[in-house]
Symmetry: C2
């Protein structure tokens, strides 16, 4: 397979549009920000936008489309939201009813699309600082946990904060905080460092989402707010229809990671 690290976002989105490539996007288009996608009917969009405003750490919004528009015109001019991701999930009344390579057949004029920052951006900043990311080393998904930290309710949307965890050597914890704090648009600084039980996590080896990773001697678990939070919160209210990216199959923007730092 050709190396898509050096490919441009536009090139890769075109491959997804043509459906000649259907792969998780990690490692593609080095230096460019990727995002989580949530597509909702307009009648839910106000409450959801307010939810993101009140909960910016788990829900850092990169862009909200105009109602009915299939383009993220600010972060990816010329994009087609209904075709430019490699894989989508459709949920009806809270139940996943299928995975699709494009969602044109489901498109409605009242759809609003939310693009939400993704931890890939701060992970590449951590790696640049010499901080290794365990789940990348292990070739698995990041472990994610439901915490006892409530999000601030907005209209019909409420629920707990979901966080991701990365084991960090004690001597790199401060650097990890400083580095990720520079990226408030992609979850920012950690929400907790150390004892998992303090934020309501019963068993660090049993994440609710993703995969368990090894925590070695001399390492401390560090927790960041996670983009699964808004998805979980939307699913809670079982809307008639919601479309999201399939986990790991993200939207690739034309925005450089460095543009998302302070």
């Amino acid at each position: 397979m050709e190396n898509l690290y050096a490919a441009s976002p536009k090139q890769v989105r075109e491959m997804f549009r043509q459906e000649t490539l259907v792969k998780p996007t990690a490692g593609m288009c080095g230096g460019y920000a990727q995002g989580n996608l949530v597509i909702l009917p307009k009648d839910l969009a106000y409450d959801f936008l307010l939810f993101t405003q009140r909960n910016p750490k788990p829900c850092p919004v990169l862009e909200v489309s105009d109602a009915g528009s299939r383009e993220f015109k600010l972060t990816a001019p010329g994009s087609d939201i209904a075709r430019d991701l490699p894989l989508y999930r459709v949920y009806e009344n809270g139940i996943m009813t299928g995975e699709y390579k494009n969602v044109e057949q489901f498109w409605r004029e009242d759809f609003v699309s939310f693009l939400i920052g993704c931890s890939f951006t701060f992970e590449s900043a951590l790696i640049d600082e010499g901080i290794s990311i365990r789940h990348i080393e292990q070739g698995c998904n990041v472990p994610m946990y439901v915490t006892n930290i409530s999000c601030k309710t907005a209209g019909i949307f409420c629920g707990p904060t979901v966080c991701s965890m990365r084991p960090i050597p004690y001597e790199q914890v401060v650097k990890a905080v400083q580095t990720t704090a520079r990226y408030p648009k992609v979850h920012g600084a950690p929400i907790h460092i150390g004892d998992p039980s303090h934020i309501g996590i019963k068993d660090i080896n049993k994440p609710e989402f993703g995969d368990s990773v090894e925590i070695r001697k001399g390492e401390v678990p560090v927790f960041w707010a996670c983009g699964v939070t808004p998805q979980a919160v939307v699913m809670n209210v079982k809307p008639s229809i919601v479309i999201t990216h399939a986990p790991g199959y993200m939207f690739i923007t034309d925005v450089k990671n460095s543009q998302l730092s302070d």
Copy 2:
């Protein structure tokens, strides 16, 4: 008059509520953030919230109330938005129809209140860094200008960015950028440094809002996005009713300025 610099926000809001004090709020409750108020009917709130999301520098939202609620429950628990400001303005169909010490008589169940960050916060940070603020020295209002920098349109809301200007000595310009950059929730770093004509300002001595201030030899005009932008944008569309604070008569929150820094 008693010195209200040391008073608590709750005390001062109570005085406004009792209408025993009707004064501009500059200098009150030292260390606490003050905010601009915009109250809109719910049917305009989604477009306005989206406008603030797309234009965070001129429109840094501190809090959005629940529809119909008169409380900023996150930034000022126990507050009454309809009574806790010293002076309000009511606009009907784009025309100011009166100033009031409370707006209970106008209250509607479909009102949504927006609290938008105010430059008082970063001005106190500048002063702490030894940077003098000319309009405070001169005892007048900050000069504000309409620029040629378009805001990003959201639904019915569009318009130019309005900026405020403070003359800064050349040797303090970098410090002024660094200091205000730490406060993205109150307009953040400047949008322009130097030649006013570069951002479409024809005559620096004729601000569209506020007062002209002296620019001395060895000083450069520095421009920040201004909270007048969202107000101007709302007025553009001449909604049936909008309520705002009267200029300078701000809402005083329980949030410390320092909590608004990164």
